[in-house]
Point group: C2
Chain length 239, copies 2
DNA sequence: GCAAAAGTGTTTCTGTTACACCCATGC
DNA sequence: GCATGGGTGTAACAGAAACACTTTTGC
């Protein structure tokens, strides 16, 4: 410890740089099965380190914005996305996560609905990837995504999270498909229906989805609070 | 916002300063009832801002240490404590949390056992306080403690957290008292016992506690993993 | 009519709650 | 013996899981 602190005080004290990044999840139909699966947008690094590799969207923290505002702004600038659901994930500050200088990242995670996801400004340097089939990403971003997935599954098990991945109107079967995709297990349609119906904030509408080749299912909508808006206090509410 | 950003770009761009703080919980008998209650150590500010007010122990992040190591080191230096249970709580980065310069705090929370808590180097500037009767603290530290308490309660409800507040050996009634103190409600001794016995990592010993004026209760011990050691990877394990 | 998924009903199972009761020790 | 909390037993209750069955559409 004495050697370390001596070292630090000798060197000019440049503080660790602080960045904000975000893991964004959305549903897209799998190319193979057509069933909904989790996807996330990544941006290609246009500078060192990790030049050319894919990374989570992010950037530095500006002076006049809160952490969450920084995440929002950065997302909008780099990908065009403005998620309605945005929440802090974790602060990563390992010593060897960036080649060269010391980097601390405060990471947020977001859920976007199909209409929001459609606004992505995709390009050579911005693309959606399947969350379960990622190549090797810049920094420790593979680890971060893995952790975000774990948190998503956890929150799904008892929370009204799934709605933030669906559109304004949805069938109960669609909700079930989301659960099945994220938790990766099949659920009994009858029991699932009953459980959902007994939770608050989930209201039936008079509309039905047509065009299926079977009985038209009723459409529902989510009327609950958004746990974490885009502009908010740092303290998360209880779930 | 335009006034602010103009202001910022005129000024020399000094990045927000980054600090690590920790909320430490331990059990102490209440002065009034004698029943165990939650306490936490605070340190008195010896510089501006908030000079003289009580605050969470913390300090800057050194270059050669991870976030968690920084929390550990700082705790040891300021209070003499070396918690075996230490976990990241949240990153606080609101604009107005510090008078003067912009401050981002990555906050950890810790649980210490009685033997660890006894090693506190108490002084004029380091003291234990009841968690539910705090005066006005420096910065937004009241809010932070409130959030830490919420997290503690949440984790208690289904986790093997309580053991980290107790010593090596304990009776089931002691565990129940911890739950009652933290959750602030009475629990049926019989049912509580059964539930605990059915969870893993909780082993009976052959010893009994004597000196009570009733039947000597059996002593148990916790044989499970420490969810987050003092030296660890940034990724928390699943609970 | 047939296929397919929506939607309902019902039984079983499992874990929780409430509470009666016995046990072992100090005084 | 009596008070006190340790420790066990058990019936009642509540919610989850399993699964049979009816309904409504497209073709």
């Amino acid at each position: 410890m004495s050697a370390t602190s001596a070292n630090v005080s000798e060197r000019r004290v440049q503080p660790p740089s602080l960045a904000i990044s975000t893991v964004i999840f959305a549903l897209r139909p799998s190319e193979s099965s057509g069933r909904p699966t989790l996807w996330l947008p990544l941006v290609r690094r246009i500078r060192q380190p990790y030049l050319g590799q894919w990374a989570l969207p992010g950037g530095p923290l500006a002076h006049s914005e809160s952490l969450q505002d920084a995440a929002s702004r950065n997302l909008l600038e780099t990908t065009g996305l403005a998620p309605r659901y945005l929440e802090q994930l974790y602060a990563f500050g390992g010593l060897d996560r960036s080649a060269g200088q010391r980097l601390v990242s405060i990471v947020y995670w977001a859920l976007v609905q199909p209409d929001e996801a459609a606004l992505t400004r995709e390009s050579e340097n911005v693309r959606w990837f399947r969350a379960d089939r990622l190549e090797s990403l810049a920094f420790d971003h593979n680890e971060i995504v893995k952790y975000a997935l774990w948190r998503l599954r956890n929150k799904m098990e008892y929370g009204s999270i799934a709605y933030h991945l669906l559109g304004e109107r949805f069938t109960l079967a669609q909700v079930r498909e989301v659960y099945e995709a994220v938790l990766d297990k099949e659920l009994d349609p009858a029991n699932f229906r009953r459980q959902l119906r007994s939770t608050p904030h989930i209201e039936p509408t008079d509309e039905h989805l047509t065009g299926t080749r079977h009985r038209p299912p009723r459409l529902y909508r989510y009327a609950g609070p958004v746990p974490d808006g885009s502009v908010r206090q740092p303290l998360p509410a209880s779930p």
